[in-house]
């Protein structure tokens, strides 16, 4: 019999809310987390706005001995994992947790400390001034390793790095590992701590970052709006505890949603630009539906990658139309990036959490800042206001640089008998 996989715990650090309750309130209220950069002096940059996680003190979530050895990105991961495991009522010492998988997505790894060391070297011209503890801080798998260390989790431990689809890929892999019987529990999700001078300069140089209209910073991210001109750099993390359904039911766990399908591919089109036909993205979505043994007619909500760039939003719209035909116009599609910016490797995980919350609350988060319809983006993007609706099936899209596409399907869990 096919093993089924459910979500039994979630933790989130988002620019518009820390913790599940705050995030739930924020996404359904259409609350933006975008504002001026405060993590460093951005005066030399053209783009001085971002979606930062505010008032994060890593020491609230882990011993100071871990805090001082880790980059912000790994701290985000440990914090989100702690919230998710607390939520799932799984604690260190649980025998099944000890065998769990930890699979986390991160596109950029420990860039903050990496940058700090580069500046140190430049300022001193002395390689000996570089901290001996740099490598384990910077390595992308520091995040999955520290989660494992904190909870003594000894199963498969991986970090997946596929740019903006990293955490959707991580969740998909974790889902398959549980479904295939490799593990009964997986801690999965994504992290990114992107708000640093060099990283902002890198993305600014690519000319992919958006600017506000009328001086209102919160309008800088406006997916599917005719005036959209790029994304807002965001930081954050989200973790989900995936669990084999009977395992969860036996221990009386609360179930948010069932993970039903995963599709992933590479369009092999271009390192940065999406295929304008959207056909590769459509294939990933179709594969996720097939994996879930569902049809287009079953989809109640599509959580869009929706970055707010000209090209992504248009290609994704085409992909959805190619997938669903006429029904595309009846499926609500929204982008939470309108509120939290683009959190790169964490974005798929934040969407996954939002998707599960949609299923739980029967509510669809809005695409905020959508006031000027684009003739070419002509779907129902749930503009500006959340919508109450029975949500049984959510598809969540993540598309990354390198034509890397991943789609996940979450469904309402079976009713308790």
């Amino acid at each position: 019999m096919t093993r089924r996989v459910v979500v039994t715990g979630m933790g989130v650090l988002a620019p518009n809310g820390k913790g599940i309750q705050a995030f739930t309130d924020a996404i359904f209220a259409g609350k933006s987390g975008i504002g001026p950069i405060t993590r460093f002096d951005p005066s030399t940059l053209d783009i001085k706005i971002a979606a930062e996680v505010k008032n994060f003190d890593a020491a609230d979530y882990m011993p100071i001995a871990v805090v001082r050895k880790t980059d912000r990105f790994a701290q985000f991961g440990v914090a989100a994992a702690k919230m998710a495991l607390d939520d799932a009522h799984l604690a260190e010492g649980n025998n099944d947790l000890a065998k769990a998988a930890v699979i986390i997505g991160s596109g950029l790894g420990g860039l903050n400390f990496h940058e700090e060391m580069m500046f140190t070297l430049l300022e001193t011209s002395n390689p000996k001034k570089v901290a001996a503890s740099s490598v384990p801080r910077i390595s992308p798998n520091a995040v999955s390793a520290y989660i494992a260390l904190q909870y003594k989790i000894k199963g498969p431990n991986q970090v997946i790095s596929t740019a903006c689809s990293s955490s959707a890929q991580a969740i998909g892999e974790a889902f398959h590992k549980v479904r295939n019987g490799k593990v009964d529990i997986a801690i999965t999700g994504g992290v990114e701590a992107t708000i640093s001078l060099v990283n902002m300069a890198l993305y600014q140089a690519m000319m992919v970052l958006g600017t506000p209209v009328d001086g209102n910073l919160e309008t800088a991210s406006r997916p599917f709006d005719k005036t959209r001109n790029g994304f807002v750099m965001g930081e954050g993390a989200a973790c989900l505890v995936l669990e084999e359904m009977n395992h969860a039911l036996t221990r009386g766990a609360t179930i948010y949603a069932e993970v039903a399908g995963f599709g992933s591919n590479c369009g092999a089109y271009h390192m940065v630009a999406p295929d304008p036909t959207g056909e590769d993205a459509k294939e990933a979505m179709q594969e996720a539906l097939n994996d879930a043994e569902l049809r287009v007619e079953d989809i109640d909500y599509i959580s869009a990658h929706g970055t707010s760039t000209k090209f992504n939003d248009l290609a994704e719209t085409k992909a959805i139309k190619s997938l669903a035909g006429k029904r595309a116009f009846d499926i609500p599609v929204s982008s939470i990036k309108s509120m939290i910016g683009h959190t790169i490797g964490a974005s798929g995980a934040l969407q996954a959490v939002a998707g599960c919350l949609s299923v739980t609350h029967n509510c669809i988060p809005p695409t905020i800042n959508l006031y000027n319809p684009d003739e070419e983006c002509d779907l129902d993007y749930v503009p500006n206001k959340a919508r109450k609706k029975d949500v049984n099936v959510v598809m969540s899209n993540s598309f990354g640089f390198g034509s890397n596409n991943a789609s996940l399907v979450f469904i309402k869990p079976p009713k308790k008998t």
């Binding site: 001995a65 901290a131 001996a132 503890s133």
Partner: protein, 92 residues
């Protein structure tokens, strides 16, 4: 204990506390009390990579150059203070 060594010891303890960021510790029971008999590896859970970073802090703070092998062989705060005091003495 002579006054000079005592002063160096106090400064060293503040360097270590700053390095360990102990003021940020939320779990008060986990907050280490550091004195001359504290073993930096066993009591403070400093690992070998961190020890090298701490050594760099000590060099900066006391404005000295240490021999890495010699310093890494010292485990207790008092021994390290003693070692620093000897280097400072040989410089003066």
């Amino acid at each position: 204990m002579d006054t000079k060594l005592d002063e160096i010891g106090k400064e060293l303890i503040s360097v270590i506390e700053r390095f360990l960021q102990v003021v940020r510790e939320k779990n008060m029971s986990g907050k280490p009390a550091i004195n001359f008999t504290t073993d930096i590896y066993d009591d403070l859970e400093i690992d070998s990579l961190e020890a090298m970073d701490l050594m760099a802090e000590i060099e900066k703070d006391f404005n000295i150059s240490v021999n890495a092998e010699e310093l890494m062989a010292k485990r207790k705060v008092g021994e390290i203070a003693d070692y620093i005091s000897k280097i400072k003495l040989s410089k003066s």
